[in-house]
């Protein structure tokens, strides 16, 4: 059908959805201005201010021992919390997507809970459990175990805020894939592990990587939750985002923006990876549909 004709008005397919050219131009320009002011400008400002005093000052700022300690701690926190949430994500997605049980939708809602909690509250809850006045505070004090204002607290807070990322990526993906391929593998004599590693894992690999990228980016960049449990001891409990704050509050702007530029580069890299994976996933699902 090339055209729809009702009465005297004939509309050719395609033109009905087109906006007048001036409107199109105006809206495009407005949208690009909004994106530039809100998003591109802040990103540019980070790099310009980081390099304001030249390369040498930038390199010195990045090589500063406290900055390096902060980078190391951020990597450590992400290195522990991301694998923990990866194992959890796969287990939760397996139970939720391949089986039916009562209370399933309640479980999925509970998994999403940390997304609804303010970062500051995410830190506070661990202070209330492990802090000096917390539930286990006196016992921990007696046994000289430090969780709050120490590295374990930072790891816990990071784990909490990144908790849902991988599970919520995998659950819809594995639900859409159904159980037939796994069942076929079992019928053909595969054991549980073979079924998982040869059927399930290849099927979910891009979705898994996608969740992994989002989870890692957030783990490296978390500020509010970590700030509450950290205690801000330089060289000991200072992650890279916290270090940015300290340098900024000391009016060491070049140092703050130099550290911030490292985090921004990581964010841009994560965005690129995310887009690449989205493209891979959509190509895979299109291929499967054909």
């Amino acid at each position: 059908m090339a055209s729809t004709a009702i009465g005297h008005v004939a509309v050719r397919r395609g033109t009905a959805r087109r906006d007048p050219a001036p409107a199109e131009l105006l809206l495009t320009v407005l949208a690009l201005v909004a994106l530039s002011v809100l998003i591109v400008l802040p990103l540019t400002a980070v790099f310009i201010q980081a390099f304001e005093k030249g390369w040498q000052v930038y390199l010195d700022a990045v090589r500063d021992p406290y900055t390096r300690d902060a980078i190391r701690l951020s990597l450590l926190a992400a290195g522990i919390s991301v694998p923990l949430n990866l194992v959890f994500g796969v287990a939760a997605a397996w139970a939720v997507s391949k089986f039916d049980f009562s209370g399933k939708s309640a479980l999925v809602t509970l998994i999403d809970l940390p997304f609804g909690v303010s970062p500051v509250v995410s830190g506070l809850i661990y202070v209330l459990v492990f802090g000096a006045q917390g539930w286990f505070g006196p016992w921990l004090l007696d046994h000289d175990i430090h969780i709050i204002f120490a590295v374990p607290g930072i790891v816990l807070a990071t784990t909490f805020v990144t908790f849902p990322f991988i599970a919520r990526e995998l659950i819809p993906l594995m639900q859409s894939q159904g159980t037939e391929e796994e069942e076929a593998a079992l019928v053909l004599g595969a054991n549980g592990w073979q079924m998982f590693s040869r059927i399930t894992l290849p099927n979910i690999k891009w979705g898994l990587l996608y969740g992994l990228v989002l989870c890692t980016a957030r783990a490296l960049g978390e500020f509010g939750a970590v700030s509450v449990v950290s205690g801000h001891i330089r060289g000991e409990t200072n992650t890279l985002p916290l270090h940015v704050e300290i340098l900024y509050n000391e009016y060491n702007y070049t140092g703050a923006f130099a550290a911030a530029s490292l985090l921004s580069l990581t964010a841009v890299f994560a965005l690129g990876l995310k887009k690449l994976l989205e493209w891979k996933i959509s190509r895979d699902t299109e291929g499967a549909a054909e």
Binding site: R17, S102, L124
Partner: protein, 279 residues
């Protein structure tokens, strides 16, 4: 009623399920319940005194007000950006689309100092407003800008898929019945987008209420005027007033869980709507 309804041949339900419950309980449920317990088991007088103090009430007013305005701004800008990204072709469209997610990926502290440097009186944007006597950084306007930055992607990503799936025949029918483009937008397209816009707004608003890192630098944290609720929780903790911090946090949790529930109801309803349409 049997707990497990499906008894297929697939292995691993009990290990996967038990681990999920155990990990969820240890990392999320037990610590979260600590807030409500602390708020409830503390003295009632302290709880109500904390929440009724002028400082706390002012902070709630600032947080709710700026989050509301920022949510509405995010809806306006988000609809515009989503429309342009779905409907038009222009150079660097893919890059523009990828950039929308930057606020999700950029650490909040980085966003905070970058926005502050732009909007202070000698910043690139802030200085343009000095001749008009408008201060942006260290006022509520600054808070709104930071929260709009954070909220924008939520709206774009809620609206974009609905707009892309919109049935061309609806617009053709409207046009063939003589509606102008603007009438078609107002009476046909906008009502269809309403649930997605509402979801985007609710997500942006919920995130804005709890936001900390991107706000505290640009807000200046003036008591009664630019102090947000999350900052007050941190301040209570620094004074070792754990019960006070828990009292404020418990109110925050109630608000954000109510929002979360509302969002999931909205999403379920729009999904049911879409399924009915498909049949």
């Amino acid at each position: 009623m049997k707990f497990r309804k499906y008894n297929g041949v697939l292995p691993g339900f009990w290990p996967a399920f038990s681990y999920t419950i155990l990990y969820l309980t240890l990392i999320v449920l037990v610590p979260l319940s600590a807030v409500s317990l602390k708020a409830v088991t503390g003295s009632w007088a302290h709880f109500s005194d904390t929440l009724a103090s002028p400082l706390v009430l002012a902070a709630f007013r600032v947080s709710l007000g700026t989050s509301l305005v920022a949510g509405l701004l995010s809806v306006a800008a988000g609809l515009l950006v989503a429309w342009v990204l779905v409907r038009y072709e222009f150079p660097a469209k893919r890059i523009a689309d990828a950039l929308v997610d930057l606020p999700f990926a950029l650490p909040t502290a980085v966003a905070g100092i970058a926005l502050t440097s732009l909007y202070t009186e000698n910043g690139w944007i802030g200085r343009l407003f000095v001749p008009f006597g408008i201060k942006i950084a260290f006022t509520q306007i600054g808070i709104v800008i930071a929260l709009t930055f954070i909220g924008l992607p939520f709206v774009v990503r809620s609206v974009q898929p609905v707009l892309a799936d919109l049935d061309a025949e609806l617009e053709e029918a409207a046009a063939s019945l003589g509606a102008s483009r603007w009438q078609t937008f107002l009476r046909v397209i906008l009502p269809i987008l309403r649930p997605a816009l509402l979801t985007g707004f609710a997500l942006a608003f919920a995130r804005a209420l709890g936001e900390y890192g991107s706000v505290i630098f640009i807000s200046g944290n003036l008591p009664m005027r630019t102090q947000i609720v999350p900052l007050l929780i941190v301040a209570k903790l620094e004074q070792y007033d754990y019960a006070g911090a828990a009292a404020i946090a418990s109110v925050m949790l109630v608000i954000s869980f109510a929002l979360l529930l509302g969002i999931s109801i909205l999403e379920r309803r729009s999904r049911r709507f879409a399924e009915k349409e498909a049949v």
